[in-house]
Subunit: 274 residues, 3 copies
């Protein structure tokens, strides 16, 4: 495999694709760094959803090319919250994450070897002059990402900050007690699969037949290797493509069936074998 | 016109743009083939809609650049359905289509000169190691598309299969009987235009004024060269940009007006001239 | 900063991302001009909304790289309305705008130094041969944008037209009378911020506390530097990232709260200080 000539910017935001926000940030990037390709991770993170954006970054980051990851979910835009660039410890795939210091980047940084260096993006020479302070993606974060791909060193973008001072993410662990697993819905995808913060090893105490509790809904479920093994309407627990347990149906939405939302508590208990 | 330095990957899926699926596949592609540009055909094929995805590929394929077409609508992901790469017979614009062998690629292959060679993507050296089996786009199909643009020969990706064994598409022909044309709605686009599986030559027996029947709805329509020729609320039959007959309104949705869905039967009959 | 090797095409349309329209235009562009990068401004302009598309282009254009701006919102597709390419007067960032002559491009042209030369895209040598006349983006506008990035001169694309004959945009100015400002909602973004055609200097006659009238709704509002300064539910007037006054709430939609639509009239009056 050949090394790319230009570093990639992988871009996630809650800007949506209806307004021109994403296009404008890309225009700004291209004027600063004409040859840096931009990969869109997604721009449809729910508005202000730092948790959802952070989880999407954490799921994606191991698959992204070397370069810059630009993450923008920034409810406190315009206040004195810090905007940061964080260089990670992975030498095989050098990665710098750029975004607000509100926990959005934390899990992705942790999954990339942790933070080696970090700066607060305070050097206005690398900002766009702007009339208001409400579009930091265009005026500060996008330019920082672009300059990093042109060879500007992190240290030039602002004052160094202690990586330990960066706001951590809020990833709850599941609880295993007796033969119950208490977890949380991390993500409900387009197909209605509900990914839990539960690994397959945490389900060892449970048998083949499992009872899923979510709010007032109680439903039997079976372990399955994939969706297609399930009969119509049969609830399944599969190890998903990220190695986590997901509650699924075959060609239908488990999220709708169990009336789940991201962040909901969910309990797995041993079911009775018949 | 100059030849491109790098082969293009044209990418269609039912992944949607809300989750990070498309971004992750692009990250994987870029790490394997840093300089291959990716064109998004669309990612909003309805979940599991093999027919809709196959029709969108068929409409698009003649306009796509040489290289790879990556098509992913894969309801049976994780089962033993084959994943394939199909090289077409068009020497002027060499094209290899990559996707599940479920009929999705069939019409596009047929419109590109037919299949010359095909392989089943069984060589795991060209797969990503993955925890689950539910994200074939990331782990098998995306990598195959990427390796093809780096010069890897089709034959390396897996065992050769007989092109005749590939699952065909299911494209119904319209029926012309006496002076009636019985067709089917292939596609309802964003503007509400309903494309039929009817060519202009099949309407020769019908006059200028035509009656459109769709379910319980019966409406007069006129032939028109384009939308703007139609009066407000007047139903029109135009030859659309793909050379097929479409039922349209001027600046309104004919699909909504006639309560149509893709796949619906529709009948065209001669109307009475007044 | 290095100059880009290839000119960029910045692309806005009302095609949406569900159908394959955008992908097909990109395929056509890449076959003509293999190395021209394409930036998507947005493709979710409401169908036929020339005003909304024109405003999005006007907001974006100052941030776009040199090259071509392709704008397609074309309700009269297939009629004899002109399709044009307009070269602007800005020598620092040479820009040619391509689209229908229906006012869509007008504000963006004006903001880029005005029109220097314009042609009607009548030279069919630079069109795609096409069965119908309803997909001008694929058959005429996309090819024109692509050829311009390969070095084809504007004059080759068709007959020259007087820039003064181009249809102007319809941008209403706000009225300031006594101590009232009567404006219009230009744009409601994803976050519900309602941008007005009112600049900060036009609010000078108003005090710190302001009354906002929109239809039957009357609400007090305060000036604020950004969203986060506002208490929960408190309506604010901020200078937005384009230098215009916007009606906003903190982490909620001001557009929904005031039941606003783009184009609505809105009045700002001095409020009583308590």
């Amino acid at each position: 495999l050949s090394a790319p000539r230009h570093q990639t910017i992988s871009f996630l935001s809650d800007y949506g694709l209806v307004d021109e926000f994403v296009g404008v940030v890309k225009g700004v990037i291209r004027r600063i760094s004409p040859h840096a390709p931009v990969i869109d991770i997604t721009h449809d993170i729910a508005p202000y959803d730092i948790r959802g954006g952070g989880l999407a970054l954490a799921r994606s980051v191991q698959y992204l090319p070397a370069g810059v990851v630009l993450g923008i979910v920034d409810p406190a835009v315009g206040t004195d919250r810090r905007l940061v660039a964080v260089e990670t410890n992975d030498d095989d795939r050098p990665l710098t994450l750029v975004g607000p210091d509100n926990g959005l980047l934390a899990s992705a940084v942790a999954m990339s070897g942790g933070a080696r260096r970090a700066v607060s993006l305070t050097n206005t020479e690398y900002h766009l002059p702007a009339p208001g302070s409400t579009f930091a993606g265009r005026d500060v974060l996008g330019p920082a990402a672009a300059y990093l791909t042109t060879g500007v060193d992190l240290a030039n973008l602002g004052e160094q900050v202690d990586p330990l001072s960066l706001l951590p993410g809020v990833l709850g662990l599941c609880r295993v007690e007796d033969d119950r697993v208490e977890g949380e819905v991390l993500w409900i995808d387009r197909f209605g699969n509900a990914q839990l913060n539960v690994g397959p090893e945490e389900m060892e105490g449970l048998g083949e037949r499992i009872v899923v509790r979510a709010g007032h809904i109680v439903r039997p479920a079976v372990r399955a290797g994939n969706y297609a093994e399930l009969n119509t309407g049969q609830l399944g627990l599969v190890v998903d493509s990220y190695g986590l347990v997901a509650v699924v149906l075959n060609r239908r939405s488990a999220g709708e069936e169990l009336q789940l939302a991201e962040g909901d508590r969910i309990t797995l208990e041993p079911g009775e074998d018949t």
